[in-house]
């Protein structure tokens, strides 16, 4: 129960006026960018990094976490009323949510999404509170070889589970790893892939790559698709107070969504998308009236919306306890920790305990704020959807270039941003997932460092990765993640349908 005591201290820090303010800023900004299509939590946190460099880290992380939660709340509004997801975690919400809005039950859809997010977010945060210290105990057993094996596992799961095919996932990962190679080698101090350009000695900044792939690539792609330009915003109809019938049909999907979302977020499987899809199909299977699915079944909104919020809480467990990001946003958060010279993992809990527990406590507070912000004020936020698309993307690019330039007042970073943006556009156009590239970019240099450290300790003996039991187990799971789906597909193909 030591977690409980630590959490109470966390509340004491999180409830100071200044930290309440940061939480408020985070959840408000999160809801805003969640609602706006084309701008997500990973991009926003990346853009905030140069601005928050001088800020107190506790306040900054309270804001970032609120932003991540808030984006999940806000994005459901866009899915329901506009039929385009505000974030990738709300893609399935659009299926039933938009149908509900078309049939005059938009308010009920928004309500079940917000209340489900609150319940899932709170349960998820509770699980985080008690599981993170357990993970830390595990992490203490980890040496460089184990960390390297863990990263290999993360690489394999994100590449196989995200995107259309393993080839595309692998390509994206390799692009990210390649970006991470450039700069001064950490151990020998030698320039690597610098091509004689002095500005390249610092390496390619995470912010440049994230903003290039997410903002510039996305803007170029959206501009190239004339057919995606016009969207119909539906008005909120009906009562925000759900009927007894709607409550009865929602509560089980909320709990089931939470049960699916949290573990998937904590696994290195790329965050919020997969659990929302799983939750949707589960609700469809379990529904008493499956014929209603596709025509506005409230279960199809309640389940996935709970799942994506629970997944965000799940993502924070390996991020805080092991320093392992399992989604693009978590990868950017890891870059934020690096900016403050903080190393997530056991040391973070022992050396910066105040920060961690204030951060976790702020999640409980943020969830309450978000419920208030999203339920009664839904009508206010909807006005944001009326921003014409040209102005929205114009604004996104102005702030993106501003953020990238202010990293180090260098126009060379703008050149890099342009190149990465073109790559991001091609990736979007040809269906390559972006998240593996972000995770590869951030984990790549860490994986290399752990790999070389492990081999230095073993004096060049490469068998260390296979003789340490934890490392061997992780590598075998990584292998299974790649091989099992291929075998399954072969076997299934042979069975006549």
């Amino acid at each position: 129960m030591e977690a409980l005591g630590a959490l109470m201290d966390g509340f004491a820090t999180a409830l100071t006026p200044i930290n309440i303010m940061w939480s408020m800023v985070g959840v408000t900004l999160g809801t805003l960018i969640g609602i706006l299509p084309g701008i997500g939590p990973a991009l926003t946190i990346a853009l905030l990094l140069p601005v928050t460099r001088t800020l107190d880290p506790t306040g900054a992380f309270i804001m970032f976490a609120g932003l991540y939660y808030g984006a999940m709340y806000g994005s459901s509004t866009t899915s329901i009323l506009l039929n385009t997801p505000g974030e990738s975690g709300s893609i399935v919400t659009a299926l039933e949510g938009n149908q509900m809005a078309r049939r005059g039950r938009g308010a009920a859809a928004l309500a079940t999404a917000a209340i489900g997010s609150f319940i899932a977010g709170t349960i998820g945060t509770l699980l985080l509170t008690f599981l993170a210290p357990q993970f830390v105990k595990l992490a203490i057993l980890f040496g460089p070889a184990e960390y390297f094996a863990l990263m290999v596992l993360a690489f394999m799961t994100v590449t196989t589970l995200l995107g259309a095919s393993v080839t595309r996932g692998m390509t994206s990962l390799m692009i990210g790893l390649a970006f991470g190679l450039a700069g001064t080698d950490i151990l020998t101090g030698q320039p690597r892939l610098v091509f004689g350009i002095p500005s390249m000695l610092r390496g390619i900044d995470t912010v440049v790559v994230a903003v290039g792939l997410f903002a510039v690539g996305e803007a170029l792609y959206m501009a190239s698709r004339r057919d995606l330009r016009e969207a119909v915003i539906l008005p909120i109809q009906g009562s925000l107070f759900m009927t007894r019938e709607e409550w009865r049909r929602s509560w089980k999907p909320w709990l089931r969504g939470t049960a699916i979302g949290f573990p998937f977020g904590a696994l290195p499987a790329g965050g919020t998308e997969i659990p929302t899809f799983l939750s949707y199909f589960m609700e469809k299977k379990l529904a008493k009236n499956p014929e209603e699915f596709g025509k506005g079944a409230i279960e199809g909104v309640a389940g996935p919306e709970a799942a994506n919020n629970a997944a965000v809480a799940g993502v924070l467990v390996p991020l805080l306890a092991l320093g392992l990001p399992t989604s693009a946003t978590a990868a950017i958060l890891l870059a934020a920790f690096e900016q403050y010279n903080l190393q997530p993992g056991p040391q973070l809990f022992s050396a910066s305990g105040t920060l961690v527990w204030a951060l976790i406590a702020s999640l409980y507070i943020g969830n309450v704020m978000l419920l208030v912000l999203n339920l009664p004020l839904a009508g206010v936020w909807v006005r944001l959807l009326a921003i014409p698309q040209p102005l929205l993307y114009g604004g996104i690019l102005v702030f993106s270039t501003l953020g990238v330039y202010s990293l180090s007042n260098s126009t060379f970073d703008l050149v890099l941003l342009f190149i990465v943006g073109i790559i991001g556009f091609l990736m979007r156009r040809h269906d390559f997932p972006v998240a593996p590239a972000i995770i590869g970019l951030i984990l790549g240099p860490m994986a290399e460092a752990q790999f070389r450290r492990a081999l230095t300790i073993s004096q060049g003996d490469a068998t260390v990765f296979f003789t340490h039991p934890i490392s061997l187990a992780l590598l075998l799971i990584a292998l299974a993640v790649v091989v099992v789906p291929v075998i399954l597909r072969r076997v299934l193909r042979r069975v006549p349908v």
Binding site: T167, T171, R192
Partner: protein
């Protein structure tokens, strides 16, 4: 055969080759010979080359772009690209506010807006607010350019 897929695959192989060539030119001190700074880049280079080969193979067998978007507005892409290039070249000489306005207008134009007056007004207000907010409140350095001494 998908031409775009073929080009993407060959592009990946070219990047792989650049990494391999650059790293081969590094002089590695003998202490680091075993697990030096070359090993990981060569691993990534092989991975990229393999991925590129797989994409070329898929493009050849026409299994690469099975659900490519129906039509691509290349003109819009070119306009935004031009806006970004103009912006990075204008930023230092003319300053943040005019450069940001040029970028903003290129994006709104590419997205099909022809309300130049409205877009220009929004661009001006946005750029001015961003400039003042970031330089006065957050203490960042942005080039003032033409507006030096005025704002």
């Amino acid at each position: 055969m998908s031409v775009a897929g073929l080009l993407i695959g060959l592009g990946l192989i070219a990047i792989a080759a650049i990494i391999a060539i650059d790293v081969s030119g590094m002089r590695v001190p003998p202490v680091h010979a075993k697990v030096g700074p070359r090993f990981f880049p060569l691993l990534v280079s092989s991975g990229l080359a393999l991925a590129g080969a797989a994409v070329v193979w898929q493009a050849w067998r026409r299994t690469f772009d099975e659900d490519l978007p129906p039509a691509t507005d290349w003109f819009a892409v070119a306009v935004i690209a031009a806006g970004l290039i103009l912006h990075m070249n204008l930023l230092r000489p003319v300053g943040f506010v005019p450069a940001a306005m040029v970028l903003f207008m290129s994006v709104t134009f590419a997205f099909g807006s022809r309300s130049f007056l409205r877009d220009g007004a929004v661009a001006l207000v946005l750029a001015l607010v961003a400039y003042l907010g970031f330089t006065r409140l957050l203490g960042l350095q942005l080039p003032a350019g033409l507006l030096q001494g005025i704002i």
